[in-house]
Amino acid sequence: MPTAADTIGALAERDYEYGFVTDVEQDTAPPGLSEEIIAFISAKKNEPQWLLDWRLQAYRGWLKMVEPTWANVRYEPIDYQSICYYAAPKSDDDRPKSLDEIDPEILATYEKLGIPLREQEMLAGVAVDAVFDSVSVATTFREKLAELGVIFCSFSEAVQDHPELVRKYLGTVVPRRDNFFAALNSAVFSDGSFVYIPKGVRCPMELSTYFRINAMNTGQFERTLIIAEEGSYVSYLEGCTAPMRDENQLHAAVVELIAHEDAQIKYSTVQNWYPGDKEGVGGIYNFVTKRGLCEGRRSKISWTQVETGSAVTWKYPSCILRGDDSVGEFYSVAVSNNRQQADTGTKMIHVGKRTSSTIISKGISAGEGQNTYRGSVRILRSAEDARNFSQCDSMLIGDRCGAHTFPYIDVANPSAQMEHEASTSKIGEDQIFYCNQRGIDTEDAVSMIVNGFCKEVFRELPMEFAVEAQKLLEVSLEGSVG
């Protein structure tokens, strides 16, 4: 295995700001997928029998499924038997009690990513459940949250400490055989976050998790479960960036949200995984299943995502609006530059009466990037007086990229009100020239114009995230014009 230095040296590191590799000894499962491996993962995590059975059921289902091919993305076939399905930092047995006990190298990694944990702990009021590879190594602010009865911990911890909640909700929104990648995740999921907000509690801080893929050849399979009890509120932030590497890495996460009566969940993502080099070599494959269930009346789930990374993105955060008067929202910015391919969008399924949904999608394509919006709005028979507003805008930078829009609308109740707007614009040379004439150079002009284009989405993000998102956009579009 090459050392970190070799790896870095072999790659054009400067092109990817966050492209570095941390050398931490791994406790890794041999490559390949089998019932034995799943039992190994489950045993490593000291899981109860019911969860092992649940995984095995998922695995057996997955074996009979075929990889979906309907998305507008092209990639080399994935060899699922060459992937390692478990990796954990060695210090796992010896859990750190505070940040001081954390491997300095890991802390340095966060530093490079611009995530000074200590500062965040003190200043930002953000509780951080940082996932390093597959196992959480730091959780902060937990006591403060515990006072309110809020549970915010890694998924593995939740399995140990709150098995009744996990068992009650796991797989209720995304069934374990929902789709190929969700089934794979269900079989081998490594870790992730667990959030429980009790009745009537407004979570006082943004909960955030920084994901990072760091182990050679190890797919990462997060599992996140967020439950908001009656009348509660939570805002959850997910952000990630990955080191540069030479092989394609598979990422197949599952996120399940459940909002009970009058509860609100706001889920924001800034995703900056390594997109591959200019030829598209080495980027992350991101196949994610995210779904929220508005279970109770007047509940609300809002997805906001800024997707700048990955070589291939396949992702459709969705809402099932079951409760009467429940609300689903989807705000998305997806960038594909160079050889990046993104097929992303949302599904809004209206079940309850007077349910409403809003979809704002901004796709940006540059270089030879291909950006596809795929959205589906379904109004079931039961959904009296449902409403949907969809707006899908695409921006093209240069003339070798592409934007594609596939809105599917399926209305089974004639009382529904549907509005759909779509536009495609080219970033105008006249706009850039206008900025230039005012003294603003082309790079800044592009980022300004693009940020303006994305404004409706950015303003949905929590403040500090919005700033980060703008920076990411700048970095990912660098050199795309002129």
Partner: protein, 251 residues
């Protein structure tokens, strides 16, 4: 300050400027008039450095520096400002945010300190008052949904904030009502100074009642066919371009 000699330029293989000579000194106001399609905007765009306009011969100098060697933003940093005939909309980008970015980019390029939000706001308020631009316009996205007149006024506001050495106004008076015309002219006059110069492109003598030029040039088919003092504009008004050229062979 500005020296244009024997300038030839083409767009998409079409020759548009066919030997333009123009010399503008600090403190002067020059008016350029001419029929539709004669090349006035082309001249303005070439000065500002628009890429799709090819200079095929001749030279352009600002304060002795060869403009052709400079990128459009470098020309702006050097103090060249163009008020566009058709100002461009930038959706989602706040008007005042844009102006602050522009001003600070220019200041930075000149090695000056960037203005912070407070100082900038103060300056902006003052300038907005000078050219009578409504505060609401400052908060809206750049030119998006602005009326024709508001766009033109916004160009003048930008000029007032950026305080260029040489301002080229391309038909800034077109589409303005009479009151707006007066405020725009007042704004320009307030900025007139010893070390600043203006090139005002217009179709109407009316503007020149308010902004009295030192020199008037007539551009016809890519050439300056006549130059004179402010009285030339009056003559034009009377005779039209055809009358003028017919009687001007000896000029």
């Amino acid at each position: 300050m500005l020296r244009v000699s024997d300038l030839h330029a083409k767009v998409e293989e079409q020759k548009i400027l066919k030997g333009v000579d123009l010399e503008v000194n600090a403190g002067e106001v020059h008016a350029v008039m001419g029929p539709n399609g004669s090349g006035k905007s082309t001249l303005a765009q070439v000065l500002a450095g628009r890429e799709d306009y090819d200079v095929t011969a001749g030279s352009l100098e600002l304060d002795g520096d060869d403009l052709q060697e400079m990128a459009p933003e470098e020309r702006a940093h050097a103090g060249l400002f163009l008020a566009f005939q058709y100002p461009v909309e930038i959706p989602g980008v706040g008007n005042s945010y844009f102006l602050k970015a522009a001003l600070n980019a220019i200041r930075k390029a000149r090695g000056e300190d960037e203005l912070d939000a407070m100082d900038f706001l103060q300056l902006l308020r003052k300038r907005a008052e000078l050219v009578d631009v409504d505060e609401a316009l400052l908060r809206r996205p750049v030119n998006e949904g602005f009326s024709g007149g508001e766009k033109k006024r916004n160009e003048i506001l930008q000029m007032a904030v950026l305080e260029p050495r040489l301002a080229v106004l391309d038909e800034t008076d077109s589409g303005l009502d009479i009151d707006a015309l007066k405020t725009v002219a007042a704004g320009v006059n307030a900025l007139r100074s010893e070390d600043r110069a203006f090139v005002v492109i217009t179709h109407y003598q009316r503007l020149l009642n308010y902004i009295v030029p030192d020199h008037v040039h007539v551009l016809l088919d890519g050439r300056i066919v006549r130059s004179g003092g402010s009285e030339l504009a009056l003559e034009l008004e009377e005779k039209g371009y055809t009358g003028l050229t017919n009687g001007s062979s000896g000029d």
